[in-house]
Symmetry: C2
Subunit: 343 residues, 2 copies
Amino acid sequence: MGYGHVAKAFLKLLASRSEELLAEFGVRPTISGIGSQSRGLTLYPEVLSLEQAVQLVETGADIHEAGRQVQHLSEFIAGGKAAGAVLLLELTTLQPKDGEPALTHIRSALEAGLNVITANKGPLAFAQAALLESAKKQRVQLRFESTVMDGLPLINLAQFTLPMVGMKSFRALLNTTSCLVLELIEQGSTLAGAIRKAQEIGIAEADPWYDLDGYDAAMKTTIVTNTLFNSRLTPSQVKREGIRALSLADIRAAANAGTPYRLVSKGRIQAGKVTALVQPMKITADDIMQVATGTTSLITLETEAMGAMTLIEHDPELMQTAYGVLSDLITILRQNPTLTAPN
Amino acid sequence: MGYGHVAKAFLKLLASRSEELLAEFGVRPTISGIGSQSRGLTLYPEVLSLEQAVQLVETGADIHEAGRQVQHLSEFIAGGKAAGAVLLLELTTLQPKDGEPALTHIRSALEAGLNVITANKGPLAFAQAALLESAKKQRVQLRFESTVMDGLPLINLAQFTLPMVGMKSFRALLNTTSCLVLELIEQGSTLAGAIRKAQEIGIAEADPWYDLDGYDAAMKTTIVTNTLFNSRLTPSQVKREGIRALSLADIRAAANAGTPYRLVSKGRIQAGKVTALVQPMKITADDIMQVATGTTSLITLETEAMGAMTLIEHDPELMQTAYGVLSDLITILRQNPTLTAPN
């Protein structure tokens, strides 16, 4: 589901790893259907090979041509399963209000016994615990590494490499649009000019205020918080303040004083109570966050047993999001090498 | 094997997680023997509970009291196995020349069908590939997260969270003693004073020149290189240059120019050929390495699919090394929940 930039980059990346996938897992991925917001739902009863799928991407051919259109999600899932599908990739564009229709896509796929990988923050932010329970019940996996900091292994780090570490808190820069807009204003841009620049490089959401008012950061903060602390916050429980109230003069004065504003996410667990917030803060000169310029994102974890550690993703591009999807796919394969649906 | 600071910190950490281990894996760890450089090999045929072991640590009681001394490693391993041991912890002090006797401890334990966790760089730097093959043959695990950057999940990150990422190169500050000594000299210390300070905070090796001449960094570089690139370098194949040739004036002039010297590790794979080096380099003002002050260590990975990412371990203490051992133990438990030796 979703046939935009991320899906296309992922198909190419997957094709580039096809020999490794075959050698390590004996798997040759095929595509049994593509759902596109503009072109609807198309099934390929004979499945597309990866080569055919990459050709579709590269020629820009109509996804309908080699397939059969269907109207309803249930038909799409049933038709996909009939052609052997064991996995749904949910890569549609975020709808920040309630995470739909991606949430329905994921819920339906899990209930049909498909594994799911998503790069879409919405469904996770609104329903992570319920979706993970559904996946567990169906004995399939739901993976979502790319929802936060693209493919940088933050979700998987927490799951696989920091067991019983005693997570205490985190501080992070998770919304690159707002950081970049602040930086451009510091360098003399107008607000409109800074937003235009962020849109040009393709990182801003369709409505830039969704970034600048902190909604994107609040969703990511929700996912990180719930993943690290095993909690059940919803985005509305994240205290949220965007950069709207900061004047150009405020922004430039703070930067000139060596303590620039950035839109900071924080979460913590204390005496079993989990809280999280998103708000503009002045970054002091000795703060590790000073290193995150441009589109670089960063998170510092505070733990009981490992003290503090920081992960930085430098200047990510589209490929990094696609890689997160690939790494999720390999994680699923490792735990279920035949990747056959259990029911 | 090894009953120094790390072993003692680990026993306390393990005890603090005993409820979680019981709840998640149904496991209650016991100790069937302790080997100490000064006190020899002691077996506990009735095994020590974790509470008894922590009491030994806290009272400083003689490890012989509750046990039976043996002379030979083979007796120690056989006696441990007879009491139910499934795991050897190798936490002795590094012998930089050839990694012995730790290498023999690990090799013998693996051959006897024990899982092994080590925080000792030597055996891994000299024989990682051979030891991993021995472990595989015996269907046991050899884990070594704490050999580099303590418990920061670098080894496990590579193994579990960055599959098929296309590792290209890394740059790192892995030896904190040399970085701290350089920093103290920049601030006006003499070389002897700086070394004394590093020894006081307990991070320098017994012979500080082992750090300052780059031997420690070369070993860690060997392990990181072989882990990331699946290669078989030995420490002598790492081009090594320490900070011995830098004068105090050189060091201070570079720092005053905003480009301080640090002992940098680098490794890369290019057209299938793997190379690695350790040498003092001037760190430019825009380099992420500038953030690593004090005992903070840092690594930047360059990858094909995920671009560049940096991991920073801030001001580690003993606990971080102990945590790496615990995380390795949990990794083994996850893959073998009953933790029974296969033969």
